[in-house]
């Protein structure tokens, strides 16, 4: 089942969460998980439980905040919101990531040329 669908790359989950919260505002854990899966076009296999420790970590860093709230069908859930520091971090990481991926992309291409 896992073959073909890459695991979430180490360190990128934070970026995905921050981006999701940045574009959608306040969201609960399940919403974040579904959104990430949708964006990746269901290409990514997210072990949804691992999301929660990651969220706690981001909260400890001060990049997101959380509080209890009610969902659309009146269920109690914890809602996460990105903070100002989180936006700054997102910007930095996004730039960093596109730089890295551009470099890696170039390598990937040149190796195709060599073949």
């Amino acid at each position: 089942m896992s073959t073909g669908r890459p695991d979430v790359l180490h360190g990128t989950l934070a970026l995905m969460i921050l981006r999701t919260l940045d574009s959608l505002g306040s969201l609960h854990g399940y919403g974040i998980a579904r959104r990430i899966e949708q964006i990746s076009g269901d290409q990514l296999q997210l072990n949804q439980g691992t999301l929660y420790p990651a969220l706690l970590k981001l909260e400890q860093m001060g990049w997101i905040t959380s509080k209890w709230g009610a969902s659309e069908n009146n269920r109690r859930a914890r809602y996460y919101t990105i903070s100002r520091a989180g936006r700054k971090q997102l910007k930095a990481e996004a730039e960093n990531w596109s730089r890295t991926s551009a470099i890696i992309g170039r390598f990937a291409k040149s190796s195709e040329d060599l073949v």
Partner: protein, 901 residues
């Protein structure tokens, strides 16, 4: 910044761990519910939807674990778990814990206590500004004794030297009689130059301190000023700030108090705080009632010198510089009126320089540093024994927990994790022991310092209590000890994991037994070394005590110390006064004989030394015999109990106006005059012009007058009446049931002196042996401790071994073996363990007893009695430690044992 934030967040979450864990559970529940609903919306059946939701969320346990790790401090939490586990297992074995903790407390505490004393005595720097730059300059005479400077020498040195940024002169300490608001008090006095207090960076507690201008007492309007100590301020004036400006009369001389020294300032001493500080030039006013100007002419060497090295200079450079300066310095300051021989003697002096950073306490140091170092070595040995003992106890404890360890390993704990558990347990124990040890040290150090300083006549303030350095050293020791004795059980863990370990594995136990035996043997060896050394010290003490002092019947001999009233010695005709006061004392009921002596028996080390030569010798320094000098009144020999062998005692006719006479000790008479009759011969004593023709009138038996360990065989006694400097004396009285009150009244009725303490001769001798008593006492205590630990170690091992063999013993008993036979076998087993250790220990002891050699008196390091007794003692302990568990095992009903299997 972020990492600090995370740290704080994690720290806070430790406080609401439960709440955070609940939050995760609730979020996961909500998550599952959302997924379930969405899946059902997509058209799955309820069961399929639930299964898909659970699948997508992944392993919940794993998530919880990661959550907890993120939330707190994973490694810290593990340590906390280990600690809790350790506490629980220690609580389960209270007797083991108690024994372990007690032995650690005593062993670590003993080390800390001794180290605290050494720290206070030699390591701790003076609490003044930049103590490292302070050096002491002394003169060294031809006989290699350190001495002070004359005042002109001090002035000349200050002028000529180029290595010190400042030179401080001081004098002290002595007890003088003072008058405050009409009330008389004994005051502990010292004197300094005006730069001392500013040079040491002192700030006054009240008023002001000395400046250089306060020293100029030659000015017509000058009045002597004084600074009192903080303790004295509180003792006598209740800390009243209006004390500044009041007058204190010292030996009748008025001093105006200008200020109070800072709290705890003790000059260069480590134990005594001078009550009153006066200007150095005021000393003659107080001590000899001479005018200030007389210090320029006095040949007395009384000024002590402290210099502050210029920045960047070393003590060696200062020494070299002073060596080049000293000849000119001495030449310029030869006191007027010196004879040719005295001049030669003066010019032969050298200057010596030593660091004063840790204060100046020559007597305490020379007496106690070396014994303390030796005692510290012994204490270290005790610690090692305790360590080995604990290692073997921990080992058998680990063996008993064999199964538990195997289970933990089987359940997936790493070997390191289990070994860490052992280490945690060891460190917990040793740190607890260390903490208790510091408390023990606090008490022990106080007790020992109290004993050492008991005889001080002034309030003492010895900062011997453990400081940060001591705590640091103790903690380091405890950690090292903890690691050391955890090593053996940690090592065990390595081999514990085997398929068979889950069952009771007897082979694993056998291997423990081998290491355990080795440890117990080592412990026996160390204990033997220690017991042998302790034994020697105790033997030495009893030898010192049993010395024939030459003073017969010290029972019934008292020594009483008088001190002058203010101005009490003005216009004193000592010829008359001695006779009067001794007559009054003799009239006190119970007194059989009363006399006076200028030297205090059994307290003054070697006593004052003088060269004595027959009158035919021209150079007394080169051809003379170094002898102990004592100035005594008529009746002294009779009172103290030294026999007169030949000739006569001093009489009241041998006064200051009469011909100079002397009594020689038997050995000195032999040495000077051989078999000839010494009576009527003439001798020279030292360089004093008046003593160049002294007639021998008697010969006394050899006696240990000053130092009980050192027979002052060569001694010369001179009449006290013929000594011009008779200020310090004591009364030596023989009698029974003498009332102190009556004695005091008799002395004070003449109006010149007051009577201070009165003690028995026996007490003085005991005090003189304090260092020996202390060393023997502490070493003896350590010896006992070592024996106890060795006994516990062996007992533990044998109990364990016997428990393992319980079945075999049961079978043997069932087959008809008798108890004695079984017990004998176990004892033989125990002896097999200890005899090896005792053998090695014996060899080690032969070498190690050299350590205490310098402290021994009348006993050789290879004293046969001690070297025989120590191993016997250990073998005896082995037999007891083996027999007790063996008897217990033999008493168990064989059927019970056999059924248990």
């Amino acid at each position: 910044m972020t990492s600090l934030r995370v740290f704080i967040a994690r720290l806070l979450s430790l406080l609401r761990a439960r709440q955070l864990d609940d939050r995760l559970d609730e979020e996961l529940r909500a998550h599952l519910q959302f997924a379930l609903e969405e899946n059902m919306v997509r058209g799955m059946t309820r069961d399929d939807a639930r299964a898909a939701a659970v699948r997508s969320i992944g392993g919940i346990t794993r998530t919880r674990e990661t959550w907890r790790e993120t939330r707190g401090f994973p490694s810290l939490t593990a340590v906390y778990q280990d600690l809790r586990y350790a506490c629980r297992s220690y609580r389960k074995t209270p007797s083991f814990t108690l024994v372990a903790l007690l032995s650690l407390t005593l062993a670590i505490g003993a080390n800390s206590a001794i180290f605290s004393l050494l720290n206070a005595l030699v390591l701790r720097k003076l609490p003044v500004r930049d103590p490292s730059g302070l050096v002491q300059v002394t003169t060294v005479t031809r006989t290699d004794t350190d001495a002070a400077f004359t005042y002109p020498m001090f002035e000349e040195l200050t002028r000529q030297q180029q290595v010190f940024s400042s030179v401080i002169g001081w004098w002290g300490h002595t007890i003088v009689s003072a008058e405050i608001d009409g009330a008389r008090a004994d005051v502990f006095l010292w004197a300094t130059t005006g730069n001392l207090q500013s040079e040491l960076g002192l700030t006054p507690a009240a008023g002001r301190l000395f400046s250089t201008s306060d020293m100029d007492l030659a000015r017509p309007s000058a009045e002597p000023l004084g600074v009192i100590s903080y303790a004295f301020w509180h003792r006598r004036f209740d800390g009243d700030p209006s004390v500044v400006g009041r007058t204190i009369r010292v030996e009748g001389v008025p001093f105006t108090i200008i200020g109070v020294a800072p709290r705890g300032f003790m000059g260069f001493s480590l134990v005594t705080e001078p009550d009153l500080t006066i200007p150095l030039p005021a000393v003659p006013l107080v001590i000899s009632h001479h005018p200030t100007a007389s210090i320029k002419a006095s040949p007395r060497q009384w000024v002590r010198i402290i210099g502050r090295l210029k920045t960047g200079l070393t003590i060696e450079q200062a020494r070299a510089h002073l060596d080049t300066v000293s000849p000119a310095l001495l030449n310029a300051t030869v006191p007027a009126g010196f004879t040719h021989a005295q001049r030669d003697d003066f010019l032969s002096m050298r200057l010596s320089v030593a660091s004063a950073a840790t204060g100046i306490e020559p007597n305490l140091r020379s007496q106690y540093v070396q014994p303390l170092l030796i005692v510290l070595t012994i204490a270290g040995l005790v610690l090692l024994i305790a360590c080995v003992n604990l290692a073997s106890l921990m080992l058998s404890r680990a063996a008993a927990r064999n199964q538990e360890i195997a289970v933990r390993l089987a359940l997936g704990a790493s070997q390191w994790r289990v070994a860490r558990q052992m280490l945690t347990e060891g460190l917990l124990l040793s740190l607890l022991g260390g903490a208790c040890g510091v408390l023990f040290a606090f008490w022990g150090c106080r007790a020992i310092a109290g004993l050492i300083l008991e005889e001080y006549l002034v309030p003492v303030n010895f900062e011997g209590t453990p400081d940060l350095r001591v705590v640091a050293v103790t903690t380091a020791t405890a950690l090292a000890v903890g690691v050391l004795f955890s090593l053996a059980p940690m090592w065990r863990v390595r081999g514990a994991w085997s398929a068979g370990a889950l069952r009771q594995n007897s082979r694993a136990i056998a291997s423990t037994g081998r290491v355990g035996r080795l440890l117990v043997s080592a412990q026996m060896a160390l204990s033997l070394v220690l017991v042998a050394n302790a034994g020697l010290l105790v033997r030495s003490l009893s030898q010192v005590r049993s010395i024939e002092s030459g003073i017969s019947r010290t029972d019934g001999v008292f020594v009483a110390y008088p001190s002058p009233r203010p101005g009490g010695y003005d216009n004193l005709d000592s010829d008359l006064y001695y006779q009067q006061v001794l007559q009054r004392i003799s009239a006190v009921p119970g007194v059989q004989r009363a006399s006076a002596s200028l030297g205090k028996p059994a307290t003054t080390g070697t006593g004052p030394l003088d060269f004595v030569a027959p009158i035919s010798e021209q150079s007394v320094l080169e051809r003379g015999v170094q002898s102990t000098g004592a100035q005594v009144s008529p009746g002294f020999f009779d009172a103290i109990g030294i026999q007169l062998v030949k000739g006569r005692d001093f009489s009241w006719q041998d006064s200051s106006r009469a011909r100079r006479v002397a009594i020689l000790s038997h050995s000195l008479a032999q040495r000077l005059f051989g078999p000839g009759d010494p009576i009527g011969q003439r001798v020279r004593v030292g360089l004093t012009p008046e003593l160049q023709e002294v007639e021998v009138i008697g010969v006394a038996a050899d006696a240990r007058l000053y130092d009980v360990k050192n027979p002052n065989l060569l001694a010369i006694y001179l009449p006290a009446l013929q000594d011009p400097d008779a200020n310090y004396k004591c009364f030596v009285i023989r009698g029974t049931n003498v009332s102190y009150g009556a004695l005091k009244q008799a002395v004070e009725s003449l109006g010149r002196e007051e009577l201070g303490a009165m003690v028995t001769m026996r007490y003085i001798t005991d005090r003189a042996l304090l260092q020996e008593r202390l060393t023997a006492m502490i070493a003896g205590f350590f010896g006992m401790l070592a024996l106890l630990l060795a006994g516990i170690g062996l007992y533990g091992l044998m109990s364990y071994a016997v428990a393992q063999r319980q079945r075999e013993i049961g079978i043997r008993m069932a087959l008809g073996a008798d108890t004695a036979r079984v017990v004998r076998d176990v004892i033989r087993d125990g002896l097999a363990v200890s005899v090896g250790g005792v053998g090695i220990g014996f060899a080690a002891a032969l070498a190690a007893t050299q350590v205490v050699k310098s402290l021994l008196f009348g006993v050789t390091p290879h004293d046969p009695l001690t070297l025989l007794a120590a191993p016997t003692l250990l073998v005896g302990i082995t037999i007891i430690a083996s027999a007790v568990p063996a008897m217990r095992a033999a008493r168990v009903d064989p059927m019970v044992v056999l059924r248990a299997e």
